[in-house]
């Protein structure tokens, strides 16, 4: 058990919700300052809360996913209470047991409420680093499928396609075979972004002397690799094709 496991999700939740006593706050803050993992957990919890706020602007108090976070804990306590009550039953007279069993029953209905339901935007970054035709074809099929699926069910999503190394060729003007497909996706969906690795462009230009221009739908980012790494840190799903 390292120090960051000392603090439960419920405790961090309470911190984010500003429900801790000043002493507890100070304790968590000082622990967080020496533990990177702990401070990351706090940040994640904070971000989750922000996302919920954005997703449900009219009902900020209803942090349903917070409840789902603490669900295991609650279930654990309730079950422990049930088993505890049972062990008490073994020892005590049934008459005495009654007063203990009743509060447990009172907790039970609570459990059914905590169904996880986050309305937060899903985010996924696809990464391609070769110009294999079949792979690229599959990539665009996947991207389109994901966009369609989410649109059809009314769930929000953001999709990014990052190309580096030979994958860059997919976004290169005059070279790519997917010009139409990209333009089509870009015009039909607002929530897709194509990003070309600037490092790769520079390197190819230096190595071969050719000038590379990317499609108008693609933005140029400095480094594809550090971009996808950053996205993962920010909690995006990642799919390397």
């Amino acid at each position: 058990m390292n120090d960051q496991n000392l603090y439960s999700d419920e405790f961090i939740n309470a911190f984010v919700d500003n429900e801790l006593s000043p002493g507890e706050r100070a304790e968590l803050l000082s622990a967080a300052s020496s533990s990177k993992e702990l401070s990351q957990r706090i940040c994640q919890m904070q971000r989750l809360k922000e996302m919920l706020k954005t997703a449900y602007p009219e009902q900020t108090n209803n942090s349903s996913s917070m409840h789902s976070r603490g669900r295991t804990g609650w279930l654990g306590y309730a079950a422990a209470a049930v088993v505890g009550a049972f062990s008490v039953f073994v020892v005590l007279q049934p008459q005495q047991m009654r007063s203990i069993a009743e509060p447990v029953a009172a907790i039970q209905p609570e459990l059914n409420h905590s169904v996880s339901q986050t309305g937060a935007t899903s985010r996924v970054v696809f990464h391609i680093s070769n110009d294999d035709l079949a792979v690229a074809d599959e990539l665009f099929d996947q991207v389109e499928f994901v966009l369609q699926e989410y649109a059809a069910s009314g769930r929000p999503i953001r999709v990014e396609v990052v190309a580096n190394n030979q994958g860059l060729r997919l976004f290169q003007q005059g070279r790519t075979l997917f010009e139409k497909r990209i333009a089509d996706l870009d015009s039909r969906y607002q929530n897709i972004t194509f990003a070309a690795c600037g490092n790769t462009m520079e390197r190819i230009q230096k190595e071969t002397g050719e000038t590379i221009e990317v499609l108008p739908q693609a933005v140029i980012i400095r480094s594809g690799i550090s971009f996808v790494a950053r996205r993962q840190k920010q909690g995006w799903s990642y799919i390397k094709v």
Partner: protein, 150 residues
């Protein structure tokens, strides 16, 4: 009489303590809350890569202990073949499926294969079907799964 009562109280407390820890442990396990979670993507028909994916799954389970890690292998596109009866790995897969490694075949890919060949691919025993491999991988990462693509 008083002594008997006292020891009864102590016994009661010990039992309660035991029950508390037991109850939490059992529930944590029931809820599927394992400490580590990993999803392994197989999207290539390269047999070496497929073998490495299986090795990865086994090694992770060995290193962390079968009860401490959830491992799911998601195969789609050209990778689907690994999970069909035509796969060279089929015996290994059905054995691993019995050792808590989850295998998910992409339903979309299966449909595509059926349209192309006229035959529905037959999956190895123990393999389950998910609607779409890519969506499954996204979902699992949203649930905190680490992503590995050999």
């Amino acid at each position: 009489m008083k002594q008997v009562k006292q020891s009864l109280v102590i016994l009661q407390m010990v039992l309660l303590g035991l029950a508390l820890s037991f109850g939490q442990g059992v529930l944590a396990a029931m809820d599927g809350e394992v400490k580590h979670k990993v999803v392994i993507q197989v999207s290539t028909d390269d047999e070496r890569t497929q073998q490495i994916a299986l090795n990865n799954a086994v090694n992770v389970q060995k290193a962390l202990g079968q009860d401490n890690v959830a491992v799911e292998i998601v195969a789609y596109g050209p990778g689907l073949g690994m999970l069909t009866m035509a796969s060279k790995q089929k015996d290994r897969i059905s054995s691993l499926a019995m050792q808590d490694i989850t295998f998910s075949a992409c339903g979309n890919t299966m449909q595509k294969v059926e349209q192309k060949t006229g035959k529905k691919p037959v999956l190895v025993e123990g393999v389950k079907v998910v609607p779409a491999g890519v969506l499954r991988i996204m979902e699992l990462q949203e649930q905190g799964y680490a992503y590995v693509r050999p």
